[in-house]
Symmetry: C4
Subunit: 251 residues, 4 copies
């Protein structure tokens, strides 16, 4: 196997597509968001990228092995721009691998005519979130203004330390290719998989790209997570907090 091997699965014509990246990261926000898009909007797998920069690993599903990879799905939205969604289970394992793999991803995106890139992710706050703000960063001042118009927050010195990994490099290397690229980072505690943060990020993305997605399944998953959080809090405090359902009986 070469350093990279890209398998072509389909070659649909996409209308003015944007790249949406959701690889694993803080609170799995980006990955949850990307996978929710694929479920709700019927993504079609178009490319698989294998690489020696991924961990030397196969995953197993019902006994069948699958070599570590990242996958591009095409989503035809019928409204506004089409989507090219990049997701997977792995990040590159070394610094140079991050650079080289992001270049590989941008090659695929340009093949499909992508001119705009959205890297989705989470930004850890260290505490449970009440209101899910979305922080942003972009390759140009004009793009920053555009994001601000749909409610994306920009705060001085945030995220501290910049943006690391493929999300950061999609901006850094995207700019060097004259692509418009932005990172949308949902606030999240950083402790748990966070479907609410993913929903906040997707709400912003909808406005920017012009598609419509149902959040029902993401909200259900968020409720399950909240149930988990409540149980953990009970265990810590020793006394159960009555739930809405409990109160119904009491009332």
């Amino acid at each position: 196997m070469d350093e990279f091997e890209t398998e072509a699965l389909a070659d649909p014509e996409l209308s003015d597509p944007v790249l949406v990246e959701g690889l694993p990261g803080v609170g799995h926000v980006g990955k949850l968001a990307a996978e929710h898009l694929l479920e709700e909007l019927d993504g079609e797998p178009v490319r698989k990228v294998y690489s020696q920069h991924f961990p030397p690993q196969v995953s197993i599903d019902e006994g069948r092995s699958e070599l570590a990879n990242a996958e591009f799905h095409a989503v035809q939205t019928d409204q506004g721009q089409d989507l090219l969604v990049l997701t997977g289970d792995h990040q590159a394992q070394d610094n140079r691998g991050h650079y080289r793999m992001t270049d590989q991803f941008l090659d695929v995106a340009e093949e499909f005519g992508v001119e705009r890139v959205f890297a989705l992710g989470g930004v850890p706050t260290g505490e449970l979130i009440e209101e899910y703000d979305v922080l942003g960063a972009a390759t140009s001042t004009a793009f920053v203004d555009e994001l601000e118009d749909v409610g994306v927050e920009f705060r001085e010195d945030e995220p501290a330390g910049g943006i690391v990994g493929v999300s950061g490099l999609l901006l850094g290397l995207g700019e060097r290719r004259d692509l418009d690229a932005a990172c949308l980072m949902g606030e999240t505690s950083g402790y748990l998989v966070d479907p609410k943060s993913a929903q906040a990020v997707l709400t912003v993305l909808q406005d920017l790209v012009g598609f419509d997605v149902d959040f029902g399944s993401l909200e259900e998953r968020a409720e399950e997570m909240e149930e988990v959080v409540r149980k953990i809090q009970e265990m810590e405090q020793g006394t159960p907090t009555p739930t809405d359902e409990d109160l119904r009986y009491i009332g």
Copy 2:
């Protein structure tokens, strides 16, 4: 020395050979199994692979040094398929090395006409095993079914985290070469060298490939290990448990 150097020691004609890999890993199950095959079935060394991805090391045997390597042995079984057995003392030391070395191993296997690959290993359970199940994974559903027919277990989400290293990549990269590849993983505590787990794996392999091997020496080694376990348990509990031999005197 180049990144890889493969030394040809012999070139026997093999009849429809399968590759059997048993490099060091959990409970040394794969290595024990592969070495038992070589002892019982008179393996002939055919290739040695040296590599800059191995540790920079020589082993010493009676004062003589030997550079880190992996070795292929040919086993002519006279029944069913012949075997090409890969074993050694080292794994690659870096991620890319795992990918590149597995490709190197598959090149050698294809040179001998291999179309089917068995990666042998152990899967850690964290507790002492009563009944030695063998878990499996394979590159196709048809191969999964075939393994199931000879008693290999398939469990949801096991092994969690997939299969890492050369065993995993023999499946991942094997599939990309259109080879049939399977991993047979004997359950093992993970704490000790486990000859019983190796025997369980070989019993399955016998059925699949069609050879016959005597387990006498492996059973002796298993008894020695059990003696070790019993002594450790005694030390922990402070009171000796009577052995069968002790009981003979008492009775």
Copy 3:
């Protein structure tokens, strides 16, 4: 992106320029010194170097992303030699990267006609400094003598362990290109950003190169740091030490 990509921003003619390097390091002495030169002497950006050896990261400034890089600024001094100042936020992330990046930096320097190199940095003493000595090292005995004449200290076995990273390699690789190179290391506690140490280093550099720089802003910053140190000491001791300002009221 290639292993290195150097972007040309301007190509001024420089008169007998010296390279002044101030990348991040102990007490940020080198970086503070280099940035002070750029502020006071109106540096003009001339080259940006991007590299796969930098961390895979963008920094964010008012929402705009910038790919990890190092930057060269030209400073025309009107007295003595011009300066080519190298600064940035990152070091190479791996051993070979240090070698290859330093070579890249020296290529840029030679393009501008540089024949002399000053690497600025700090040397940690582990205690608060009263008098800020500057330690030195250079590629030739003649250059060592020249440094000694302007007050640079040379002590046996200091710095212990030699000089690591780009500062060290500017000497090591510079010498192999027949460049004169020196390292000027301001003593610093190693615990805090140290503007006084940066001033000590720049004072020596002024004498050696023949330019004049105002230290007002650096002194202000030093006073701010001293205020921080005094507050930390108060917290540790529980009792406040009267400041000059306090004493004015008392007296």
Copy 4:
């Protein structure tokens, strides 16, 4: 700078030379032994090897910088075989670097006509040594026998884990070039620089190669180390042990 750069300093004709390697390692035994040879037998520097696999570092001597390197010295013995002595302050920093650097060293050795290689080192015992045995390993049974004849010890399973780094690879890669290579490992506690262990190794080497070296300075250094050890023991025990010198006054 390239991955390796070898500087030629002199090209003396050597009579049937052997390579003697003494790079840093356990108890600095190899390095002490090699440097003692150079001091006593008037070594002439013949090659310097610089490499990106060394740490990115200069050492400083009286203010002058020197890039990390390894050095070959020629020693003309007038009796028996001449010596090509390899020493330095650094080892390669990565696995592949060890392989590639050892090949580089063997290239230099073959340029001078070397057919026999001695890697000098220490083997840690974890306790203070009374009698300094020298353990061995070699590339052929004939060479093992030859070493045994001059008192080198060979013990089963020692050194456990084989021999790692350049010393091990001089055997492993040397054998692949049809060179005779041996490792001579002086027993040493592993806690301290050990001149006595170096002397034991050199005594064996003298017999094998046929030169004569005075051990006076090495013995002095051993006495200094013993003084250090005695002082450490006193501090640990609280009561001073009378030294020979003390006893002279008492007696």
